[in-house]
């Protein structure tokens, strides 16, 4: 009986736990700045030059941007070099689709990697040329 109660209590605690939260860690991330919505949902082709204009629209519309690294991990950017603005921030808008290397702090919670960028260590501009294959996403213009 005692073991059963301990089991029930353990299950109750597990269900009440707020979810996986990993401690913040310092990271360096290299990848493409992408529009989080289009890239994650796949509602259209959401990468490189083909999607650049749409990525600008979405960033101006306040959809969060992420960095997609070469392994396919996504990091949602909540702060960029001391600027706490992450909604339609003009600098974030202007570096859409760029391949960057950033240093910052990573916090993982409930299936999302949140990234606080301390420094953009390298910005190679746009190097993912996808427009010849995918045209202009969406609408073709």
């Amino acid at each position: 009986m005692h073991g059963f109660l301990v089991g029930v209590l353990g299950l109750a605690l597990a269900l009440a736990w707020p979810g996986p939260v990993r401690a913040a860690e310092r990271v360096r991330v290299t990848g493409e700045i992408v529009d989080t919505w289009c890239a994650i949902t796949g509602i259209m082709y959401g990468f490189g030059t083909a999607h650049h204009q749409c990525a600008v629209w979405c960033a101006v519309g306040g959809i969060p941007v992420s960095i997609m690294d070469d392994a396919g991990n996504y990091y949602m950017v909540l702060r960029l070099e001391g600027d706490d603005r992450s909604v339609a921030e003009p600098r974030i808008v202007s570096i859409q689709t760029h391949r960057v290397t950033v240093d910052g702090t990573l916090v993982e919670r409930d299936g999302v990697k949140y990234l606080l960028v301390d420094e953009v260590a390298d910005d190679r501009g746009i190097v993912n040329l996808t427009h010849e294959e995918y045209g202009i996403q969406p609408f073709g213009e």
Binding site: A16, G19, T41, V60, I63, P64, V87, K113, I136
Partner: protein
């Protein structure tokens, strides 16, 4: 339980505020129609402790912490190419009910806010605060995303592909 009691229970469940999933599905992989109840939080405050009294006043990404403690980033509202920050902002630090989609992609979990209300006594309202605010600032436009001053500036400078001088073929 009698048959009448079962019917009554079914009606209660059907009519209970928040019980019916009215969300519009989009056919997105991993999407799940939901009605969530939770507290509106500033994501930067919630994950890093960098807080402001007003959830950033529209400058920061917002999310929802549900009663089970899960954090959902609210990335999309009902307006084309626009987020849900201005819809959630009036509820900063308070409870809200959200009708929409949770995208449980293994790469990242997202919340698409379609409708929201402050309590079960209120009517649902569509998450369209972005366009209402945009029109107040810029006037009417058929496609806000092509008419926006910042979009026009960036596209005029860098082109649709983001590389100056690289133009679409006619």
């Amino acid at each position: 339980m009698t048959g009448r009691a079962l019917v009554r229970l079914a009606l209660v469940l059907l009519l209970a505020p928040g019980a019916a999933f009215a969300a519009q599905t989009w056919g997105i992989p991993h999407e799940k129609p939901v009605v969530l109840r939770g507290e509106v939080v500033d994501l930067l405050c919630e994950v890093a402790g960098e807080c402001t009294p007003d959830c950033g006043g529209g400058r920061r990404q917002l999310g929802l912490v549900t009663t089970d403690g899960r954090l959902y980033p609210a990335v999309k509202g009902e307006v084309f190419f626009a987020g849900a920050t201005l819809d959630l902002l009036p509820y900063c630090g308070r409870e809200v009910m959200v009708d929409g989609l949770v995208i449980e992609n293994p790469a990242m979990t997202l919340l698409f806010v379609q409708k929201l209300r402050g309590s079960s006594r209120e009517k649902w309202k569509p998450a369209r605060a972005f366009i209402e605010d945009w029109r107040r600032r810029n006037g009417p436009a058929r496609e806000w995303w092509r008419a926006d001053p910042l979009v026009r500036e960036v596209i005029a400078r860098d082109g649709v592909f983001g590389i100056p001088g690289l133009e679409p073929e006619e």
